[in-house]
Symmetry: C2
Subunit: 193 residues, 2 copies
Amino acid sequence: MNALEERIMKDGVVKEGNVLKVDSFLNHQMDVELFKWMGEEYKRRFAGKNINKILTIEASGIGIASVVALEFGVPVVFAKKSKSINLDGEMYTAQVESFTHKNVNTVIVSKKFLGPEDHILIIDDFLANGCALQGLIQIAQSAGATVEGIGIAIEKGFQQGGRMIRNLGYQLESLAIVESMDAANGSVEFREQ
Amino acid sequence: MNALEERIMKDGVVKEGNVLKVDSFLNHQMDVELFKWMGEEYKRRFAGKNINKILTIEASGIGIASVVALEFGVPVVFAKKSKSINLDGEMYTAQVESFTHKNVNTVIVSKKFLGPEDHILIIDDFLANGCALQGLIQIAQSAGATVEGIGIAIEKGFQQGGRMIRNLGYQLESLAIVESMDAANGSVEFREQ
């Protein structure tokens, strides 16, 4: 087991409905030393990729992306959730459905900060059905940017998002892939990597 | 001028209505190397303070707080904006008015992650009228936590937030304090520190 898998075993909480709560170290309280390890691991897994920018989405992706960006020595751009429907044409936009919050957000990235010259690493905390990732990929494509890779903290391997993204040909690296979990006894099984 | 002030002069854009756009390096695209410098500067300014946790608010505060937390070697907790009115009593809450978005958000922090044992540094990107800061201070007080200091990137010195917070006795350190700006010629004047 790697450092993230060990931490999930220690501090993750399995809830009914295939919910894995990791808010004590990943997405409410944040263990930035763990994020530093994640950055080193992504650096190893994406070695040889020419990455000049990291793209993520608010809010939980921002902390991880910022610490990972320090490892890569590149800036971060985060897609913002927008309530505004009057966008002024200076923004790339995508619709992102949230199953957690049961709503659809428009996410936006300013055209100033993403373009054909960019070779990006997409970073996010969770991958389940893949809606947020599809939105970020769509924004990257609108910008003509090259997606060099995708780094996820925790992938729910029993949902279809990861397989779909890999089938599209992207190098997707999830540091922990949960194959199954059981709220009754709190157990979590990881995919061997 | 320090590194942040120089960057504001170089890449900040002054808009009508006392708006200072710094989205190319602070709160949409993020220069994490600059955040690292900010962390070192806060470490110097809050030397001798016994800080064990950083508190910030989503979304723009998270990137800065995460990189600053690496410098301090402590975890971050970020207050979440919540649309839910059915909170389960496991959360500290505060109302925060946003002048940018013309609305009021309820922000929440889980009671699990803040308590009387915590000595916190509050971090945020902007300070103008001080509404977001007041919400975070209120949450810290509800938790019985000690606010050891407040670190802001850019303070609008011509609005009342900074004076009010300092009058309450908090050590508030803003790395750039804008005394005045002029959209007509793009000029920005900083307070001498």
